[in-house]
């Protein structure tokens, strides 16, 4: 799926709020892949998905902070989600890579992921908050996990925890 059609789909899913009226516990998620593992962001916090742009580096920031880009005249900070989740940094393949633009309270942050897969509706009772995983990713950002059949799982991430002001703080130490 290319970035533009995905953004349109995100918009149409957001405006189509019927299921949420049927059941309060039903929520939509944007599912993406990072190192063969699937993750989900709450769709309501997603602004759009864009292709990989040239990113301008910024000094003094933690290693997961990739830099800033120009998104139609607005400057947006970009985070390497792989590094943020405690994985090893790897070179990105510009052609395949996507940037998911997220929006929480007052911060707009772009997250680099491998591919964006689909929009998925999930009922709350399908999400398990007990984690029995063998991955080494930082657990404090995970709100739950769901089984999607054939042994594969989706990990749901909290954007508020992942991209809070404290998490993104500039390294204040000099030199």
């Amino acid at each position: 799926m290319n970035a533009r059609s995905l953004t349109e789909e995100i918009e149409s899913h957001k405006s189509d709020n019927q299921p949420s009226q049927l059941s309060k516990s039903y929520k939509k998620y944007l599912i993406f892949t990072l190192d063969q593992l699937q993750y989900g962001f709450p769709l309501s916090k997603i602004k759009e998905v864009i292709g990989y742009n040239k990113i301008t580096e910024v000094p003094q920031v933690p290693s997961f902070f990739k830099g800033i880009i120009n998104l139609r005249g607005r400057i947006i900070s970009i985070v390497d989600l792989r590094v943020k989740l405690g994985q090893k940094a790897r070179e990105w393949e510009p052609k395949k890579t996507c940037i998911i633009i997220t929006e929480t309270d007052d911060l707009t942050i772009g997250a680099i992921v491998d591919t964006v897969d689909e929009v998925m509706g999930v009922n709350e009772n399908e999400i398990c908050d007990k984690l029995e995983l063998s991955t080494n990713i930082d657990r404090s950002f995970i709100t739950g996990v769901t089984n999607t059949g054939d042994d594969s799982v989706v990990l749901f991430l909290s954007l508020e925890k992942l991209f809070s002001r404290d998490e993104l703080k500039i390294l204040s130490s000099k030199n």
Binding site: K54, T56, E57, V58, P59, Q60, V61, I68, I69, N70, G73, R74, I75, I76, S77, D106, L107, T108, I109, F163, R165, L168, K169, I170, S172, K174, N175
Partner: protein, 573 residues
């Protein structure tokens, strides 16, 4: 939903209230100079009345109550039952300050309660005083005499309190305002004309866009039309940019108004009568500048009244009019906004500056210095010629802060001083904080922008000119001049290594604390007109960066702010 609506009402009320309070403050000061003008009192009364009514309807009871008390006082003034003497005007002004503080507090927190006891007591004193003098009037004919003695007792008390608390109180008042400008959304009053011009330009752009789309269906046939439309589109876009920028511009009047109050208060607490003259109130300036400049202007004014303007005896001796003059003049010239602040005081004593600077080891006794060079020393940090430290103009942490503030707004200050005649400060700023000229350069493979006003010159040099003093320090020599060379990437906290492949090296010569320094960079790309953009909140703490600029190829470059990098540069040197 309901609570959202009332919140919006509250917010709107508070914004309107702030505007009204600006106007009442002006009226109160007018009243002081024209005590008999009924028209002024009527206008104040109307404003107070509408604040009271709205405050109660949106549930700010405390604000309503204070305005109510104020209103009762105004009724007495309106009927001529009390006269707007100093004590009354002081009370009016301090209740205005208090109301402003309350509004500012309420904007942060709708439930906030402010201590109003002091002002309420003052209002009550006047009201009681009036009642007493009214009672007395039945037995005694000299109402005014009686009233005056009644007030003068409290007045001396009040003045001693004022000098004690005024400066700290002023500073306290300023802090919430600064904070507000960071976190709270701000509002601007716009003329319909500006909006119409924006919409007209936008409409034109939409039409050109659609005719371009139409023509693009057959690009070969329409080649001429397409190129013509594109050039038209370019022109409209520029107009659009201009009209959009014009939305940020406000008349400098509101700055004058704040200044007027500062002059009044300072001249009163120092006992030096000052007359203010203003010119160019309608000159427009970026809204952000008005707020930022007020601290700069008030500092210069306090200094002028404290140090520049002589006391009464000295003025008489010098055959100057008893009332000193401070003139404010704002105008635009060559794409810049200029503000002159002139006093008719004793001028800056360059001999005193010389002695002081020598004693501090700031000057070389072998060299001779021009008056201009000496005067500019007042902007050096820690430099103050004041004989005594006063509450009004601080302790030598003043003018350097003023300069760095103006620099951070991409402007500069000039000082002209004539002994015995007076001193003029001229602040020069770009018309808008958002658009300015900058130099684009590369460092460690990334591009950066530094405002042209910060750069003295771009200096190319060869490796031979560098001498290393020690591990961290090197200098370049040019003729008999020696300039300290700074590895700029270190001051910025860049971890990568710079690349210089050629023998020629380049540095940006800047002035830090009146000292020339060379910032070594990789290469110079050129000069551009920069439209500065804000970075996200998450990058607020970034040292030395004031924002981002989008370059011709659509990529972002960081815009650097030299004044906030001063310490890092000094440490790296």
């Amino acid at each position: 939903m309901a609570s959202y609506d009332t919140d919006e009402l509250k917010e709107t009320f508070l914004i309107e209230c702030e505007e009204s309070l600006d106007r009442t403050e002006c009226f109160f000061m007018d009243l002081e100079s024209n005590p008999t003008d009924r028209n002024i009192i009527n206008q104040i009364f109307r404003l107070a009345h509408s604040i009271k009514g709205s405050a109660k309807s949106v549930g700010f009871d405390q604000l309503g109550e204070l305005t109510h008390a104020l209103e009762e006082l105004l009724v007495l003034l309106q009927n001529g039952q009390i006269q707007p003497n100093q004590y009354v005007v002081d009370t009016l002004l301090s209740s205005n300050d208090l109301l402003r503080m309350m509004t500012s507090n309420l904007r942060e927190d709708y439930e906030h309660k402010t201590d109003t006891s002091v002002v309420s007591k003052r209002i009550k004193t006047i009201m009681d005083g009036f009642c007493e003098s009214e009672v007395n009037s039945s037995s005694n004919d000299s109402i005014s005499d009686n009233g005056l003695t009644l007030f003068s007792e409290t007045e001396t008390d009040l003045i001693s309190k004022r000098t004690d608390h005024e400066p700290s109180k002023l500073r306290e008042n300023q802090r919430p305002m600064d904070r507000q400008s960071e976190d709270k959304d701000e509002f601007i009053r716009l003329s319909l004309k500006k909006i119409e011009s924006l919409i007209d330009n936008l409409g034109e752009q939409v039409i050109l866009q659609s005719s371009l789309e139409e023509a693009a269906k057959n690009p070969i046939l329409n080649e001429d039309l397409i190129s013509k439309t594109i050039s038209q589109l370019g022109k409209i876009t520029l107009d659009l940019q201009k009209s959009a920028m014009a939305l940020r511009m406000v008349p400098v009047q509101s700055l004058y108004q704040k200044t007027r109050r500062i002059i009044r208060d300072t001249s009163r607490s120092l006992g030096k009568p000052v007359e203010i003259m203003t010119k160019g109130e309608e000159t427009e300036i970026d809204k952000v500048f008005v707020d930022e400049l007020s601290s700069v202007v008030s500092h210069i004014i306090r200094n002028a009244i404290d140090h520049g303007i002589e006391n009464q005896e000295e003025r008489l001796e010098a055959r100057k009019p008893e009332r000193a003059k401070i003139k404010l003049n704002a105008y635009q010239s060559f794409g810049y906004f200029l503000l002159e602040i002139a006093d008719d005081g004793r001028g800056i004593d360059t001999k005193k500056i010389y002695q002081k600077a020598m004693s501090k080891g700031l000057l070389d006794d072998q060299k001779s210095y021009s008056d201009e060079e000496l005067i500019n020393l007042i902007f050096t940090s820690g430099f103050s010629t004041a004989q005594s430290v006063t509450d009004v103009s601080g302790r030598g942490v003043g003018m350097d802060a003023v300069l760095s503030k103006v620099k951070s707004l991409k402007g500069d200050i000039k000082v002209i001083s004539k002994p015995g005649i007076g001193t003029t400060f001229t602040i020069r700023l770009p018309l808008s904080i958002a658009i300015f000229n900058g130099i684009v350069f590369t460092l460690c493979g990334d591009r950066f922008v530094l405002p042209s006003t910060d750069i003295h010159e771009v200096y190319w040099f060869s490796e031979k000119q560098i001498s290393r003093i020690n591990e961290n320090k090197s200098i370049i020599t040019r003729g008999d001049e020696v300039i300290e060379l700074v590895d700029f990437e270190k001051s910025l906290g860049i971890k990568k290594r710079p690349f210089n492949d050629s023998k020629r090296m380049v540095s940006l010569i800047v002035e830090i604390n009146r000292k020339k320094m060379g910032l070594k960079v990789d290469d110079i790309i050129g000069q551009v007109r920069v439209v500065q953009k804000r970075l996200g909140h998450e990058l607020k703490e970034l040292r030395g960066v004031s924002g981002g600029a989008i370059l011709g190829d659509g990529e972002v470059a960081l815009v650097l702010n030299l004044s906030s990098l001063q310490d890092d540069i000094k440490n790296a040197a």
